[in-house]
Amino acid sequence: MIRDTETLTQLIDMVERFVRERLMPAEQDVAEHYRIPEDIVQEMKALGLFGMTIPEAYGGLGLSMEEEIHVAMTLGRTSPAFRSILGTNNGIGSAAIVFDGTEEQKQRFLPKYASGEWVGCFCLTEPDVGSDAGALKATARRDGDHYVLNGTKRFITNGPVADTFNVMARTNPDIKGARGISAFIVEKGTPGITLGPVDRKMGQAGSLTCDVIFEDCRVPAANLIGREGEGFITAMKVLDRGRLHIAGVSVGVSERLIDDALAFAMSRKQFGVAIAEHQLIQAMLADSKTESYAARCMVLETARQRDEGKNVSTESAACKLFATEMVGRVADRAVQIHGGAGYMSEYAVERFYRDVRLFRLYEGTSQIQQLIIARNMIRDAS
């Protein structure tokens, strides 16, 4: 539901220009140094990019899902690391409070996320708990007006730079499944938090992740988000929105890969002509374009339905499944079109080929999306 096309166009134009003029030239530097230059982070904050999805009442822009998807697709045209630094504040790091926080929690945390003064992160995954998130082991024991948190959280995006941790922990040890889980907001500096070393990854260099370990970490009871035992429901709502966002980013990256592959194919000559003239190259270009366009349409349509208040759990999972698998194929073809050059770090497609691999894994693997889709289908039909 785009409230005002003209304003949205301006907003997208600005983001597009920022991506082209500031972020794209810095991609290689970020990849080599594993960090986003501080001046770029500050610019992103000044531009309001950290608060796009935070409601306007709390200093954000309150973008609708469709508007957010347009921005995600635009940001997708550059290294995913840039999106990652602002992704948690706009998504999994803040969404739990937006959805289920108390008014006091909203007042206290959301304006700081919106300005980028604080970076939030989302702590669900554990060393032994990934797809089966309902089985998580971290505990939160009530002790007077505090909860005492214990457990290790793994692969926490923006963990190394986070000011707040949105932690899912088991408040009721008698309930093994999802209903024993509650959501908390934990501030940096609370005694008992230890950060592991920054993870080394296949791609997305510059996007920082680490283990976050809680040892007898005392959190005020006022920092419980929603009610005890409802943390898993909150987490699933958070991920539901996140899936659509990742699908949007995947579309953006696929469009960038197609641009790069097309430009290369039109300038590279073999057998006396630009390789874009060769039909087997054309087939790869056409397949990539078609799939990318299909994903774009899917994601926008689902975003619109979500803005209309429809339950899009199945459709969001379908978008995540299709768009992330699609961008994997598009990245593969982009490397193929580049030939040997595509294997060289000098070309962006080599980096994106590794970067996009993550999209099929996080916020629910492709296989988990398949389960969500199929189970919803069966449930709706029975």
Binding site: T7, Q10, L11, M14, V15, L47, G48, L61
Partner: protein, 249 residues
């Protein structure tokens, strides 16, 4: 003091332009449009002057069909205070533009006019000069530095072979060159807030200006494609070709 800035809607500088099949002009269907880059620099300069407390209001005007309100909105998002849309058919020629601006200066009581030195579509580079002549105002064209002091404005101009500094009394007309400043990005919150800033719409007739043009474009053609170069055997042949064929030495 009020500053008036004129912005023109042009094809985005990053778009690869094509000439229409019938040579009547440039293909604009689906082309991304933007503020003329020189005009954007003028907007930025006006906002900086206001931020220094040397101006009370920055008014942005654009002349053209309804679509050019987009460029006014962009200027408002950058920090201008209000907009004036002079609704006219596209392709108003420089003299008529200068007359419209002259009428607005009189109507609004403008102290300083900031313009881009030329637009990247028609490249006329005429409006600032014509406006200064019509209004009998001093002009500082191709500005690379602007400084307001004691009711006057010091303008450093880029000229062939160096720079020239002129001191102008107000009201004055300044046209910006590329190096005057680097325009900011409008922040997302400011883009949202710009929606609420006012844009007035007037017609050239309201301002007493006739925009009919005596100029007719006969044909627009793309520049000839660059032909392949040749390899020369030695320096002597190079010099000989430069003299006899290229005729540059």
């Amino acid at each position: 003091m009020k500053i008036l800035v004129a912005v023109k809607r042009v094809v985005d500088a990053n778009v690869k332009i094509r000439v229409k099949a019938d040579n009547s002009g440039v293909e604009l269907t689906n082309a991304k449009m933007a503020i003329n880059p020189f005009c954007e620099i003028a907007v930025e300069e006006a906002i900086r002057i206001k931020e220094k407390g040397q101006a009370d209001e920055v008014i942005v005007v654009s002349i053209g069909d309804k679509a050019c309100q987009e460029q006014i909105r962009t200027s408002l998002a950058l920090g201008a205070d209000r907009g004036i849309h002079v609704e006219a058919e596209d392709g108003v020629q420089p003299l008529a533009v200068a007359k419209i601006l002259k009428a607005l200066i009189d109507k609004e009581g403008i102290g300083l006019v900031l313009l881009g030195k030329q637009s990247i579509d028609s490249d006329n580079n005429q409006v600032a000069q014509m406006l200064a002549a019509l209004g009998n105002m001093p002009q500082g064209t191709f500005a690379c530095a602007v400084e307001l002091t004691d009711g006057k404005v010091k303008v450093t101009r880029e000229i062939d072979g160096g720079e020239q500094t002129v001191l102008l009394s107000l009201p004055a007309v300044i046209s910006s060159d590329l190096r005057l400043n680097e325009p900011r990005y409008a922040s997302l919150p400011n883009i949202m807030k710009a929606k609420k800033k006012p844009i007035d719409t007037v017609t050239p007739a309201d301002l007493g200006v006739n925009t009919a043009s005596g100029l007719k474009i006969i044909a627009v053609e793309p520049p000839p494609a660059r032909s392949a170069g040749v390899k020369v055997a030695d320096v002597d042949e190079l010099i000989s070709k430069l003299k006899t064929e290229a005729k540059v030495i």
